[in-house]
């Protein structure tokens, strides 16, 4: 059954609202079992705290509500839960910190906790900016969410194709879950679990602290991309 493959079933919510020349971008995790009245409360609180014009309240609430409903629409459906170790890529910038990372995540582990990962990551990498943690957790969650949605779609396709197990394998390979297949190839023969040295750089986390000019340059580039 569909759910986020993490210990708690939290929804990643991304907000990007522009009204009257003011742009509000935000990303956070939401607990879908909170009552819907929370949405408005949260919107009002945020607008008040950030001193945004009051038109934002309805827009924020609507956006959150839409994403929540979308999440809930997936809820009853089946998810294809095969062996799935997927790569998760982190490539984000929070204030002055730039993070690049690449690691594998087990989709079948329903006890996994992106928040815990983020906390440990920040502690280990000595990141001082406290806003990085939530951003990392959010990025992980978002990707997991995407993958979960894809697995729902693939489950549907499998039902339609009705080819059984072989069909399932084909479906996986065509879906780009080929990563899982690669792993099976990897572990099949006498290869060890330890990663080859030449591949270390791919999976190494990179944390860069940027200077102000670099930050400005990057921001300008991002804005240009989004427009």
């Amino acid at each position: 059954k569909f759910r986020m493959p993490t210990a708690d079933n939290l929804v990643p919510i991304r907000l990007d609202i522009e009204t009257e020349g003011q742009r509000y971008k935000d990303a956070f995790t939401w607990n879908p079992s909170d009552p819907d009245s929370e949405v408005v409360v949260f919107a009002k609180r945020t607008v008040r705290d950030l001193k945004l014009p009051p038109q934002f309240i309805t827009q924020i609430a609507q956006s959150i509500q839409t994403q929540l409903t979308e999440f809930r629409s997936y809820e009853g459906q089946d998810m294809y839960t095969a062996e799935k170790i997927v790569p998760i890529k982190l490539d984000l910038r929070v204030n002055h910190t730039l993070i690049k990372d690449h690691f594998l995540w087990d989709l079948n582990n329903y006890e996994s906790d992106p928040e815990e990962f983020a906390r440990t990551f920040c502690n280990d990498m000595g990141i001082e900016d406290p806003e990085v943690g939530p951003a990392v957790a959010f990025a992980i969650r978002e990707q997991l969410y995407e993958i979960a949605i894809q697995s729902v779609a693939s489950a549907r396709e499998i039902k339609i194709s009705k080819k059984g197990r072989r069909g399932a394998e084909h479906a996986i390979s065509s879906k780009g879950g080929g990563n899982a297949l690669d792993l099976m190839k990897l572990f099949r023969y006498n290869s060890s679990v330890v990663r080859k040295r030449k591949e270390w750089y791919v999976y190494e986390p990179i944390v860069d602290i940027l200077s102000n000019e670099e930050v400005d340059a990057l921001e300008a580039r991002e804005d240009r991309n989004t427009r």
Partner: protein, 466 residues
Amino acid sequence: MAAKSPVKEPPGTSAVNPTTPLAPPPVKPELPSSSEPDVVNVPSYSRWFSFDSISECEVKFLPEFFDSRSPSKNPRVYRYYRDSIVKHYRENPSRKITFTDVRRTLVGDVGSIRRVFDFLETWGLINYFASVKTLKWEDKETKSSAASAESSSALKETSKRLCNGCKTLCTIACFACDKYDLTLCARCYVRGNHRVGVSSSDFRRVEISEEARSDWTEKETLQLLEAIMHFGDDWRKVAQHVSGKSEKDCITHFIKLPFGQEFICKESDSEDVDNKFFSINNPSDAVSESENVGATSPSKRMRLTPLADASNPIMAQAAFLSALAGVEIAEVAARAAVTTLSDVDDRASKGSLMRNTRQQEAGVASNGDATQNALARASVDASSLIEKEELDVEKAISGIVEVQMKEIQDKIIRFESLDLQMEEEWKQLEQVKNLLFVDQLSVLFHKSNARKNGDRTEENVKTDVS
């Protein structure tokens, strides 16, 4: 980023058992000077807080972290949220931190973070002093008009005050808390029916009847008097004549005028009644003018609240009434009641009734301290009249009861005689029954004999015949 600053709690607070303050105690100490930068002030009702442990308070108000319903909501996570929020605040205690600041730095779902944040804010562990500054900012934000502080009172005047606790219209007096924007009627205030984390001393008393109507200027008073002279009892016309005052206002103000005593039946203590009216005018003005809690009021308020906790409904009622009427008036009434009692004791004792009122009035008396006895005489006479009435009523009731008892006795006697009669008849009936039975038996006996004889005679006849 460990909190190195020691936590200083304001002086003058009594030692509190760690298990008792599950509801915020009403005593809030005087605000100490917060000049030292290294010291953080924590309200006395939050002294249970410590970084090393989780208290019952937190378990009670944030059960989601402690009931293991969700695997990621456990005490460890709660402590992580709580400690980070508090540390974040204490880095700069004079600045109010917002929820959005905090949730951006914490890993977790915003719903639970918000609940922890609200809990900490309510208990004054964060944003404890910043509230004073932000209040003004919020006031400016909410007011549409750019008026000065008058607009705030105007806002209150024009709108009817609805109590947040019981959703009834506030009359006479209500209690407003600016810190959390609450309004409570006197009853809810006394019962402590307000949100958790708000202490009773955060409220100030707002007299509706006095504040809502503006003061009477001399001109208006003159107009009122003229109108009354012309129109007498027709208050509608009087109100029309006086510009800008409703009928009720006119009547109330007129009654409160010093010479109003002429319209009350003359008693020996008319001068005391006079004093009473003056005293009503003065304290009401004083109370309505004073916005902030004065130096003496907190101590009196402290004494008010012990009564509020009383389970005895009479005490609660007395507390409610005294809250409604205002502090000085309550003291006056208490004095009056005490003198009444001492007078009544001289007269015939009334038994349990007086004991109850004594308790009630002793309770009310303990509420106040001052030495005004203007109301004393009036209430003494009133209570003596009441007692006479009670006596009469008692006599009447006992007379009625006697008569009814006699009736019942007569009825009983009659029933007894009837009973006797019935018994005799019953006995006779039995006898007759017995006789009948005997007769029946004899008849049967004879019948059988007769039949035998008959048979024999038949036989005889037959044999004779044959």
